[in-house]
């Protein structure tokens, strides 16, 4: 369990960075994990156009488990103050690691504290928890920067895992 819940994750969970909703913002999205009902409202503020725009702020109000809360917190550290192009590269690297079923460790130079979530990728039921905030950021960034910049068709809110009867 210590491998799954690394100290970095527990720290971010207890003391989430950049939490709370702030003004001004350019786009606000609301994403839900239909499996467990966890949700996040996330705002993005960009400065500039297209992929060269700078991510000025990411603020959020989230309800969720330690994995989703910590992952969102780590994500804000990684993308705020970065050019959108870099933020999306980080997001791509993190997503690839999370969906690898433990096969890809992730590059610490790119995803920083995000590598703490490598253990989570071995638990398929928790991957969506870790991606909730990231996908919300991607969705919001697309809305601001324009659909041609990135694709938003990987929204986590599109899947469900109901109790079959």
């Amino acid at each position: 369990m210590e491998q799954l819940y690394q100290e970095i994750i527990l720290d971010h969970h207890r003391h989430p960075h950049h939490a709370g909703l702030r003004d001004p913002f350019d786009a606000q999205v609301h994403h839900v994990n239909p499996t467990c009902g966890d949700e996040i409202t996330l705002r993005v503020r960009l400065d500039g156009d297209g992929l060269d725009a700078r991510v000025v702020d990411v603020s959020y109000d989230a309800l969720g488990c330690s994995i989703s809360q910590a992952s969102t917190s780590v994500m804000t550290d990684l993308v705020i103050d970065q050019p959108l192009q870099v933020a999306l590269a980080v997001l791509g690297e993190f997503t690839e690691m999370m969906t690898s079923r433990g096969k890809i460790d992730g590059d610490e130079d790119v995803i920083g504290d995000g590598i703490a979530f490598a253990g989570v990728s071995k638990y398929p039921a928790r991957v969506k928890c870790a991606l909730l905030g990231w996908m919300a950021f991607k969705d919001a960034a697309v809305q601001v920067a324009g659909g041609s910049t990135v694709s938003a068709d990987e929204s986590v809110s599109s899947t469900s895992n109901g109790e079959s009867r």
Binding site: C36, L63, E163, R165
Partner: protein, 440 residues
């Protein structure tokens, strides 16, 4: 095959010792091979997720295998020997399953994929009545009402939302009190002359609450509304008699009652079924077919279009035989004693709040709870690491969770093969989760 000790009673947990139960429970557990396995680095499996799906005993597995290896053929087609044998097995299963739920006439029991399909069958058939002149008595439209409850599983909610959307009828619901039971104080205001359908669960899959079926049926009957009972969580765990309950329709799922997945049952009064339009259409549900129209067979065939699941139905027949040999009164009494232990053990943990009645009266074997300061998903992860399989989330009852302002709960749900010791392992694992996340 084993039987439960008749001495097992519904006495409070304080009077119940493992020694009273161990011999028979050990024999029952030996019938379920999966319970012998370990999970997560050698931890004995503690399976407390039977509310989602139950495990299968050897006689069920054997019945399916025996059918497939010796009698398999498409039922109700063909005149060869295998077709005869397969049809006999299929219809014998129908008879035994119907009898198990108090239905003497097997033609009133329709095989469905599961309870969800059974409810959709009723909802779509009622919707199809709009296009069937001969079924105008079932027609719904603007001004009509469908009544559900706030504690329904999505399976007994969304089909009715959709029926209302298609027909213009209005959806209403019976609210819950803070005691986790239906608030029946204003029942006559909710179930009025406008009500055409009253659909409700027998036993909540989250709270464990057993609903007062007689009172709800009486209210529906006063205004001539059809009643639809979701018996998914009651049929596997207690004696249930649909005729005695006097409901018009009832559904249950095979995989929650020690049977295979892919098979369930819909009970309906023959008089209603034989007047209702079909849901799925195609082969074997017909009487006569012409190039431009067709007439339909009587129930149950009318509602079983296409070659049905067969080995699954045979397996479910074996499951009800198994449960009948244990005796549903004994099963219910034993599971009641497990719930006693669960309520006692979980209530004793500071920071644990049970979401459901804490008094073990009119209460079944789903025990849901929240742990202060630890999200249900995180509790479930620690439990899983200890070998304890529970369900976390909203358990397909999101409106229920909204009602109590909770995003997600942990649900332990028992079956006849669980032991008091397993409940204690659960409680220990919950304490471990609190320690891990530093709330205790």
């Amino acid at each position: 095959m084993t039987t439960l000790q008749t001495a097992i009673s519904a006495e409070p947990a304080a009077h119940l010792t493992v020694a009273d139960l161990s011999v028979d429970i050990a024999a029952i557990r030996a019938d379920f091979p999966i319970l012998q396995r370990t999970v997560r680095d050698g931890k004995p499996l503690v399976y407390l997720d039977s509310g989602a799906t139950s495990q299968r005993p050897i006689p069920v597995i054997d019945a399916e295998q025996e059918f497939v290896t010796t009698h398999n053929a498409a039922v109700h087609r063909g005149a060869h020997q295998l077709a005869e044998e397969a049809t006999d097995h299929y219809e014998s299963a129908r008879e035994r399953i119907a009898a198990f739920v108090g239905v003497p006439n097997p033609d009133e029991l329709i095989f469905t994929k599961n309870a969800t399909e059974g409810i959709n069958l009723v909802a779509y058939s009622l919707g199809n009545a709009s296009y069937s002149p001969s079924a105008s008595r079932f027609r719904l439209g603007p001004g009509d009402e469908v009544v559900v409850t706030e504690m329904e599983h999505h399976a007994n909610l969304i089909p009715w939302q959709e029926l209302c959307r298609r027909t213009g009828a209005t959806l209403k619901w019976i609210q819950m009190g803070d005691d986790f039971r239906l608030d029946l104080n204003n029942l006559d205001e909710v179930i009025t002359e406008r009500a055409k359908v009253v659909a409700f669960t027998h036993q909540s899959n989250v709270l464990g609450t057993v609903n007062p079926v007689a009172e709800l049926v009486a209210a529906a009957n006063r205004v001539g509304a059809l009643t639809v009972l979701d018996a998914c969580q009651s049929v596997p765990h207690s004696p249930v008699d649909f005729k005695a309950l006097d409901v018009d329709f009832a559904v249950f799922s095979g995989h929650k009652m020690l049977g295979p997945s892919g098979v369930g049952g819909l009970y309906g009064r023959f008089e209603l079924l034989s007047a209702m339009p079909p849901f799925l259409t195609g082969g074997s549900m017909i009487e006569q077919v012409f190039i431009d129209h067709a007439t339909y067979a009587l129930p149950p065939a009318r509602f079983e279009a296409g070659v049905p699941m067969t080995s699954q139905a045979v397996g479910l027949g074996a499951a009800v035989d198994y449960l009948s040999q244990l005796g549903m009164d004994a099963v219910a009494a034993y599971e009641h004693s497990l719930v006693d232990v669960a309520l006692q053990e979980l209530s004793a943990i500071d920071g644990v709040r049970i979401i459901g009645p804490t008094e073990n009266v009119n209460r079944g074997g789903a025990v849901s709870f929240v742990v202060d300061g630890v999200h249900a998903h995180d509790v479930g992860q620690i439990l899983d690491d200890e070998g304890v399989a529970v369900r976390v989330g909203h358990h397909c009852a999101w409106p229920l969770h909204r009602r109590f302002g909770i995003a997600a709960t942990v649900r332990a749900s028992v079956a006849v093969y669980n032991t008091p010791d397993e409940i204690r392992v659960l409680a220990g694992a919950v304490r471990k989760a609190q320690q891990f996340f530093g709330t205790r």
